[in-house]
């Protein structure tokens, strides 16, 4: 089935995710689309970024050629310093995560199930994977937002009744933001509820790209970034 309208770009997905962050929250951004979110935090919202590399609070990415090997994020990118940072070791970085001190994390995903199971670390075709901090964030962050393309490059369904790829965490995802829709994972196995759609995408078009069954919010709106 051909797309009824263009899909949103990675930056636009990141912009929509960034609207979920509230003033003063501690935020951990995963590799990929989530990393882009820091460029789109709404005016007036101040966040405290937490990174598995052992820091709390940081400036934006360093200018090209101005990197300091002792100031990186979890993706190995160089950051710029700001006043009020804190450094710590890996055991403490993850005590913060597991201990429930991180308000929200945005992560990429290979698959998300209708009960909020997340699979994002192991691609069976490769036979080896990087779990990194994903399993700790999945269980530890107070809120897990998935930011991803709605379908795989081959059109494969990524939002599915049950994940076929090895799991990162069970029932951990609260919100899914994709290039065609925003979907809530309802608690207690309540399933998936479509709350926003990309311009030109109606419910039937989104459902046709989604392996799991969607219910539709009575307040369904178009994705807006203002």
């Amino acid at each position: 089935m051909t797309d009824p309208a263009p899909r949103l770009g990675r930056e636009v997905i990141a912009m929509r995710v960034a609207r979920e962050f509230h003033d003063g929250e501690v935020v951990n951004l995963g590799i990929g689309i989530p990393t882009l979110c820091s460029d789109f935090v709404p005016f007036g919202v101040q966040l405290m970024y937490h990174s598995e590399s052992g820091l709390l609070n940081c400036g934006p990415l360093a200018d090209e050629g101005d990197g300091d090997v002792d100031l990186i994020n979890a993706g190995g990118q160089f950051l710029s310093p700001i006043p009020g940072m804190a450094y710590f070791d890996s055991a403490e970085a993850f005590a913060m995560i597991r201990g429930g001190h991180v308000d929200v994390t945005a992560l990429g995903a290979l698959q998300v199930s209708e009960t909020g199971d997340l699979a994002n670390w192991f691609l069976p075709a490769r036979g080896v994977g990087n779990v990194g901090g994903a399993m700790d964030l999945a269980v530890g962050a107070k809120r897990v937002i998935v930011a991803m393309e709605h379908n795989g490059r081959d059109g494969a369904q990524k939002i599915v009744p049950e994940c076929s790829f090895p799991l990162t965490g069970q029932g951990c995802v609260g919100l899914i933001v994709t290039d065609i829709a925003v979907i809530e994972v309802l608690p207690e196995g309540g399933g998936l509820r479509l709350i926003e759609h990309a311009s030109g995408w109606d419910v039937a078009a989104i459902q046709s790209q989604t392996g799991a069954e969607l219910t539709v919010s009575s307040d369904l709106t178009e994705i807006t970034l203002a």
Partner: protein, 247 residues
């Protein structure tokens, strides 16, 4: 006689690492916090059938992860390509890019190297537990996943937790900014990561540092790793004498 843990050179620092040893290698994955000269010395020393424990199994060489432009990365590949590694315990063992496999992935696919993948926080906590005399602990991380298979689990307050055991090592090769001659260490920025928990988890911890100062040269209020966890220290030669380009 005053205590002085300074070792004359890198070769001497790693000379007693024997075949079959379990060796922790510090750092996160990039240039910062990684004991490059200790790794090169261990390569030259030649011990084989080693188990290495670290956050990665060397992801900088193929991707430049955490390295400045124009500097050739040095990572765990120097040991892997030299055929010294039998097993890797890591959270992020392979390159983020399928098309740019690291030396570990090549060896793993060839069936030459065994792998144990551990979630990053569990890896750090297993080290912390080892250093603190805790045999095992329950964590919610990995519950219901393939990384919990074969492990005991238990419900607390309606939530499943997995029993994870302490992770010890014979040696830890770590990196710090400054040591005093007693072995007190301080780190810089995000280059702390796994170095402090590894220092406590290993029987012999060897710290590669930029500078060694006399006792009193480090403010006791600001010691990151107390000297009790450090058995040997060795200073990097000034960049002009190092023989390799290092950030």
């Amino acid at each position: 006689m005053p205590i002085d843990k300074t070792t004359n050179n890198f070769a001497e620092a790693v000379s007693d690492i024997s075949d079959g040893s379990v060796v922790m290698i510090g750092g996160f994955g990039g240039a910062g916090g990684m004991p490059h000269l200790l790794m090169l010395a261990l390569r030259d020393q030649g011990a084989r059938n080693l188990t290495i424990i670290g956050n990665t199994a060397g992801i900088a060489a193929p991707t430049g992860f955490g390295w400045p432009e124009g500097v050739e990365p040095i990572d765990h590949a120097v040991l892997i390509e030299n055929g010294q590694i039998a097993k890797v315990i890591a959270s992020f063992p392979v390159s983020g890019s399928v098309s740019r496999p690291n030396a570990f992935e090549v060896g793993f696919r060839a069936g030459e190297i065994e792998l144990e993948v551990v979630p990053q926080g569990t890896l750090a906590e297993r080290m912390r537990a080892a250093g603190a005399g805790i045999a095992a602990f329950y964590t919610p991380t990995a519950a219901g996943t393939i990384l919990a298979e074969g492990k005991e689990s238990r419900m607390f307050d309606g939530r499943e937790y997995v029993l994870e055991e302490a992770l010890h090592a014979d040696f830890a090769l770590i990196r710090a900014k400054t040591a005093d001659t007693l072995g007190n260490l301080i780190y810089t920025g995000t280059s702390r990561t796994f170095n402090p928990p590894m220092a406590a988890a290993a029987r012999v911890t060897i710290a590669e540092v930029d500078e060694i100062v006399e006792p009193g040269g480090i403010d006791p209020e600001r010691v990151d790793t107390p000297s009790i966890y450090v058995q040997r220290i060795v200073a990097r030669p000034p960049a002009s004498e190092g023989g390799v380009v290092l950030p």
